[in-house]
């Protein structure tokens, strides 16, 4: 089997298949040695040394497998796509979402929140007349959620996560107990718990609720019918004892220094131990090759490079029985479209989704210990579903333990302001730092974006990278449905700040590359790096790209896996759901390989020179 991409999707499928005795070759476009700690520590050093600590700061730029950076997004003018960086942005909205192309993929920099999707999220079309229905229900996916929670090592408490229709198997507990809420969360809870909200004729009561997280906490002895759970710490070829429990580094994004946060290298390490898995790094998939007679995939053409800076490369074709594209929603669609494979549905690359993030930031009247803990421990989840979804998008709210960092670059921006503009010095500077940073409260509203065919990834031969691969071209805008949710989110933020006696410092700069207006009000909407929906699953080849097992309708031995298969994303960070989908697909592929005796065997060697 050939898997394109070593992120969480590819790693889960490779691990499951290798455990069933299948031989797997993983192709990774980016760099990566093995799973040594030396390489991981080099990421950390690079992060420490970076003056701008954005979510790609630990990872070296690589023109052969370029990574979008949030700072790449610039204002798009109609008819003038911005092609100055890897993602060609066609507008009208410039997305600042990113993904990381190194061994282990974006799970190196992800934050690690792992809420399940709500049952309603799988049927928004029938329940609310919006978006699409999945070919799967929450109940069908539920056992795979449990598998994913084991693999990722989720800390959470079932009691706090049973709401809005989410149910668990009787007796189920998460592998580890929930991480404690931050002191900041409890300050917010004191002010807002019990606040009643009326929306579309229904009444909701707000409360601060913890988020489940793929981060090591205290193992729950009741897990697995009393067998318990052993947390997986740092991955290393040599023995190393760290990462068994979160230490509160407040650096989940862009890199947990001790690997207490799950990253896909943990799954890859297990896969490698089977002896059935090989990984080729610095090997960029450039074309999916079809057998013209059967329509099945016969190989993947790749470009392998030695030096990330130099375009020098060799071209090879990798062959196998089954092919899995697990390169994320944008890269999967890019590869298929660059191969001339637009799907008989015409939907390849369409329905691109990402969560819309609206930030609101204020100053609490007391020192609340901001900038401590994991990046986020709690938030408000009470408006994640309800009858109002007929009219406006649902959202969850994150209470950020890292203050106004995302909104305005705190605490660096505060220090510069105080020293250079306010002329503070000595004790008064110290007092200002204390009172104006440790009382920061940033609320991030993660707002639902329904599928829309005009939000899409395309390719254009006019835009290629230095290996000659066509780059993704992104067309993206936010529907009114989402903006109605954003507008309501802003009102709710004002209300929360009022409850907390917090001064609202929110302002949206009309010059910002992601400034949008809705009904006369301006907002800045950030991307969430939750890329989904470019090869959606469905019940028919006419209306979807893959079936409910993520198998291509057009090419029977090809699977497109990951966020791209999701027809909707609700208000849940997508990783847990796409991991669950990959467990489901892996089981199916194993069954299929056993059942499908008609497959012709490939040559002994997994690859041959083109």
């Amino acid at each position: 089997m050939v898997v394109v991409g070593s992120g969480i999707s590819g790693s889960i499928i490779a691990n499951e298949l290798s455990r069933a005795g299948k031989t797997v070759l993983i192709l990774e476009a980016g760099p990566g040695t093995d799973s040594s700690l030396v390489e991981y520590e080099a990421f950390l050093t690079r992060f420490y040394d970076a003056a701008v600590k954005d979510n790609q700061s630990p990872y070296a730029p690589n023109p052969n497998a370029a990574m979008p950076r949030s700072s790449d997004a610039v204002r798009i003018w109609p008819g003038q796509p911005d092609s100055s960086t890897y993602l060609v942005r066609n507008g009208p909205l410039a997305t600042d979402s990113t993904y990381t192309r190194v061994l282990g993929g974006t799970t190196l920099h992800w934050e690690g929140k792992t809420p399940r999707m709500m049952p309603d999220d799988f049927r928004t079309r029938s329940a609310y007349g919006v978006g699409l229905d999945w070919p799967l229900t929450y109940t069908e996916l539920s056992p795979h959620y449990a598998q994913a929670e084991r693999e990722l090592g989720v800390s959470g408490d079932v009691e706090t996560q049973t709401f809005g229709g989410i149910t668990f198997e009787p007796g189920y507990v998460y592998p580890m107990r929930g991480l404690p809420l931050s002191y900041l969360d409890t300050v917010v809870a004191k002010g807002i718990d019990g606040t009643a909200v009326e929306l579309a004729g229904e009444r909701y009561e707000l409360r601060v609720r913890p988020f489940p997280q793929a981060r090591n906490g205290i193992p729950n002895p009741d897990y697995d019918d009393g067998r318990g759970f052993v947390p997986v710490g740092a991955v290393s070829t040599n023995q190393v004892e760290e990462g068994g429990r979160c230490q509160g580094n407040n650096n989940c994004v862009p890199l947990c220094p001790v690997q207490a946060k799950y990253n896909a290298r943990k799954t890859l390490a297990k896969a490698l131990q089977t002896g059935c898995v090989d990984i080729l790094v610095q090997t960029v998939a450039s074309k999916v090759i079809l057998d013209p007679v059967t329509g099945r995939v016969s190989g993947i053409e790749v470009k392998a490079y030695e030096d990330p800076v130099s375009p020098r490369h060799t071209t090879w074709t990798m062959r196998g029985h089954v092919f899995v594209l697990a390169a994320n929603a944008i890269e999967n669609a890019r590869l298929m479209l660059a191969s001339g494979l637009g799907s008989s549905s015409g939907l390849m690359g369409r329905n691109l989704m990402d969560h819309a993030y609206l930030l609101s930031w204020g100053l609490l009247p007391e020192v609340a210990g901001t900038f401590r803990g994991t990046n986020c421990t709690g938030g408000i989840s009470d408006l994640r579903t309800g009858a109002f979804r007929r009219q406006q998008a649902a959202f969850a709210v994150d209470i950020h333990n890292d203050g106004w960092a995302w909104a305005v670059g705190s605490p660096y921006s505060d220090l510069i302001q105080m020293v250079d503009q306010e002329n503070l010095f000595g004790a008064r500077l110290r007092n200002a730092l204390q009172s104006r940073i440790s009382s920061q409260l940033q609320l991030a509203f993660i707002i639902e974006v329904p599928p829309s065919e005009s939000n899409r990834v395309t390719v254009d031969p006019a835009y290629t990278d230095q290996l000659g691969n066509m780059r993704p071209v992104i067309s993206y805008t936010l529907p009114d449905y989402t903006m109605r949710g954003a507008s309501y989110a802003r009102q709710l933020a004002r209300r929360v700040f009022q409850c907390l006696d917090a001064a609202d410092h929110t302002s949206y700069d009309p010059e910002d590359s992601q400034y949008v207006t809705y009904e006369g009000q301006g907002y800045v909407i950030r991307g969430g790096n939750h890329l989904a929906g470019t090869h959606i699953m469905g019940t028919s080849p006419a209306t979807s790209v893959v079936d409910d097992r993520q198998r291509s309708w057009d090419h029977k031995n090809l699977y497109l896996v990951g966020g791209g298969s999701m027809p909707t994303i609700g208000t849940s960070n997508i990783t847990l759901t796409l991991a669950a989908l990959c467990f489901r697909s892996a089981r199916h592929i194993i069954q299929q390989l056993r059942a499908d005796a008609s497959l012709t065997l490939p040559p002994d060697a997994p690859s041959d020179a083109a």
């Binding site: 950390l44 050093t45 992060f47 420490y48 040394d49 970076a50 003056a51 600590k53 991480l179 404690p180 809420l181 931050s182 002191y183 409890t186 906490g217 205290i218 429990r245 979160c246 230490q247 509160g248 580094n249 407040n250 650096n251 890199l255 220094p257 001790v258 020192v367 210990g369 901001t370 900038f371 401590r372 803990g373 994991t374 421990t377 333990n401 890292d402 605490p411 660096y412 220090l415 510069i416 020293v419 250079d420 002329n423 010095f425 000595g426 004790a427 500077l429 110290r430 007092n431 730092l433 204390q434 940073i437 440790s438």
Partner: protein
């Protein structure tokens, strides 16, 4: 005659409201001094440190400590040549970053080699005093331990002045 490092520490203690003891405890004093000397040059650094000592001495002689800050503002912080360098020292102590000097400074006094925004070192990042000032750890370093975030922050009291 005090050494330049001692004078640098004396200025830095007044500028940050951390004690000399705390500043030395970061292990960064020599490196920060070397950085500012390398970029701004001996003359500017010595002038800045001398004026600070002078302000301190005048304040001590008059018995009015408020005079020190007044003189420092008048002679150093508001000075077009010394002010931006002094502020850079303050920022360097708090976040371990040398910030590129303002354009007006470069135009008036000449561009200096190495004057770009950079993190002095990985250790300097981890030793940034800002985090200590707010009772937190530099993200990604000096982790305080599981669950510590649930407790109120421990913010150190300011040194007496």
């Amino acid at each position: 005659m005090t050494t330049r490092l001692e004078r640098f520490l004396a200025f830095s203690a007044d500028a940050t409201a951390f004690t000399r003891f705390e500043l030395q405890g970061t292990g960064q004093a020599r490196e920060y001094l070397d950085t500012v000397v390398r970029i701004a040059g001996d003359t500017i650094v010595d002038r800045l440190l001398d004026l600070h000592l002078h302000a301190k001495a005048v304040a001590a002689a008059s018995g009015n400590s408020a005079i020190m800050e007044h003189l420092l503002r008048r002679d150093v912080l508001s000075d077009p040549r010394l002010g931006p360098v002094a502020r850079n020292i303050v920022k360097m102590w708090f976040v371990g970053i040398w910030y590129e000097l303002p354009r007006e400074w470069t135009e008036a006094f000449g561009a200096r080699e190495g004057d770009v925004t950079f993190v002095v070192s990985g250790t300097a990042y981890a030793e940034g005093l800002l985090w200590r000032a707010i009772g937190a750890n530099p993200p990604g370093a000096k982790a305080p331990g599981y669950g510590s975030w649930a407790l109120p922050p421990h913010i150190p009291a300011l040194a007496a002045h």
